[in-house]
C-alpha cells in the first residue's frame, strides 16, 4: 500500500465517492473557480498568472484525489513549474507593468461572449449530467502496484511509439523557439576597440566621461540605491542613483547620510585636493634646482 496515498480514493459500491473526498472537492472546487474568474477579470497580467497557478495546483490536488498520483505530481512539475514559469518569463519580457483597460473595443462583443459562454456551460453541462454512465469501476486493481507503475505499464506498452513521437515533438518545439526568436544581426558587432573609439570621440565632441565610473563598492560608504556613489574626487555621481528615484526626488544628499564625509570633503585641504589628505603645499623649487 502506498504510504503517500493518504486520501481514501476508493469508490463506494454504488459509485459515489467517500465523504472525505467530497469534502476535499467542495473545498477546492469553488476556490478553483474563483481563481479562474480572477484570471478573466484581473487587470494586471501577473495577477492573472498567479491565479492560474493557483488553479493548476488545485487541479493537482484533484488528480491525486482521483487515484492519478503520477499525473498530479507531473501537473505540478511540468505545468506549474515549467510552463507557468515560462509564461512569467515572457511576461517580464513583454511588460510586467502593463495593465489592460477593461473597456471593450469591439462593439457588441461582451454580450455575445456572455451568451456563448452561457450556452456552452448549459449545453456541455447538460450533456455531461444527462449522460448515462456505466457504474464507476475505480482504479484499485490497476493501481495495485502503485499508480506510476500502472501508468508505466500502459505508457511504455501500448503507447511506446507515441512516446517517441512526443519526444521528437519536444525537440522540434525547442528548436522552433530558437528559430522563431532569432534576430538577424542588422548592425555590425560592436567590438571593444570601437567602444573605446566612440568614447574618445564623445569626449572630444561634448566632453563626455571617458573612463568608467568606479565599481559599486569603491569609495562607497553606503549601499542604498537612493544614495549616490562617490567619485575619486569625493563628488557624488548622480548617475548612480536609479532614474526613477531621481525623477521622484528620492535621492539623498551626502550630507543626509554621512555628514562626516561631507565635512571631510568640505575641509579645505592642501594642494592635493584629496579628502583626508592633509599636508603643506609642496616646496617651491627655484629655477636652478629644477634644472638639476
Amino acid at each position: 500500500m502506498n504510504a503517500l496515498l493518504l486520501v481514501p480514493a476508493a469508490l463506494n459500491a454504488d459509485g459515489t465517492v467517500s465523504s472525505g473526498e467530497t469534502v476535499l472537492f467542495w473545498v477546492i472546487a469553488p476556490l478553483m473557480v474563483l481563481g479562474a474568474l480572477a484570471l478573466v477579470f484581473s487587470r494586471r497580467a501577473v495577477y492573472a498568472a498567479v491565479s492560474i497557478i493557483f488553479v493548476m495546483i488545485g487541479l493537482a490536488f484533484l488528480y491525486v484525489a482521483q487515484d492519478a498520483v503520477f499525473l498530479g505530481v507531473t501537473q505540478v512539475v511540468v505545468y506549474t513549474g515549467a510552463i507557468m514559469m515560462l509564461f512569467l518569463f515572457v511576461l517580464m519580457l513583454v511588460g510586467v507593468d502593463a495593465s489592460e483597460s477593461l473597456i471593450e473595443t469591439i462593439r457588441g462583443h461582451r454580450p455575445l461572449v456572455g451568451l456563448f459562454a452561457l450556452g456552452l456551460v448549459v449545453g456541455l453541462g447538460g450533456v455531461v449530467i444527462s449522460a448515462a454512465y456505466s457504474a464507476p469501476v475505480g482504479l484499485e486493481a490497476l493501481n495495485a502496484d502503485s499508480n506510476p507503475v500502472g501508468v508505466a505499464r500502459v505508457l511504455f506498452g501500448q503507447y511506446a511509439l507515441a512516446m517517441q513521437l512526443t519526444g521528437a515533438l519536444l525537440i522540434v518545439a525547442a528548436v522552433s523557439a530558437i528559430t522563431l526568436t532569432h534576430v538577424e544581426r542588422l548592425l555590425p558587432l560592436v567590438t571593444q576597440r570601437r567602444v573605446a573609439d566612440a568614447k574618445m570621440e564623445a569626449w572630444a565632441a561634448r566632453g563626455a566621461r571617458i573612463a568608467q565610473l568606479p565599481a559599486s563598492g569603491v569609495y562607497a560608504t553606503h549601499n542604498g540605491a537612493d544614495i549616490p556613489a562617490l567619485s575619486a574626487t569625493g563628488e557624488p555621481v548622480m548617475a548612480s542613483v536609479p532614474r526613477v528615484l531621481r525623477v521622484r526626488g528620492q535621492q539623498l544628499e551626502i550630507g543626509d547620510f554621512a555628514p562626516n564625509i561631507a565635512a571631510e570633503r568640505d575641509r579645505p585641504t592642501g594642494q592635493s585636493g584629496l579628502p583626508n589628505m592633509p599636508g603643506e603645499p609642496a616646496p617651491q623649487l627655484t629655477q636652478g634646482e629644477e634644472e638639476r
Binding site: L39, V40, A45, I83, L93, L124, P136
Partner: protein
C-alpha cells in the same frame, strides 16, 4: 456526490478558459486561457479513466500535457518575436485581414 461533479467542474473551467480567450486583449493572458481549457480537459480525462477503470485516460492526459508544453514553447516564442517587431502584445492590433 458522484463523479459527475468533477465533470461539471471541468465544463465550468473550460468555459471560463474560453471566455478568457475571447475577452482579454493581452495575447499572453489569452494564451493562459487556452492552457486553462487544456487543463479542464485533462481533469475530465482523469475522471473518465477512474469511471471506466482504465488507465488510458491518464495516459491521454499525460500526452496532452506534453503537447501543451510544446505548444506553449512555440506560442510564446511567436508572441515574443511579434512583440519585438511591433512593440505591442495586444490582439486587437493585428486586424488587417478585414474587408
Amino acid at each position: 456526490m458522484s463523479l459527475t461533479n468533477y465533470l461539471v467542474l471541468a465544463v465550468v473551467l473550460f468555459t471560463i478558459g474560453g471566455t478568457t480567450v475571447l475577452v482579454r486583449r493581452n495575447a499572453i493572458i489569452a494564451f493562459m486561457g487556452v492552457e486553462l481549457m487544456l487543463n479542464a480537459t485533462n481533469l475530465s480525462l482523469v475522471t473518465f479513466s477512474r469511471m471506466h477503470g482504465n488507465l488510458d485516460g491518464q495516459v491521454m492526459a499525460f500526452f496532452v500535457m506534453v503537447v501543451a508544453a510544446a505548444e506553449v514553447v512555440v506560442g510564446l516564442a511567436i508572441i515574443v518575436s511579434i512583440y519585438r517587431t511591433r512593440r505591442s502584445a495586444s490582439l486587437d492590433d493585428v486586424s488587417l485581414l478585414k474587408h
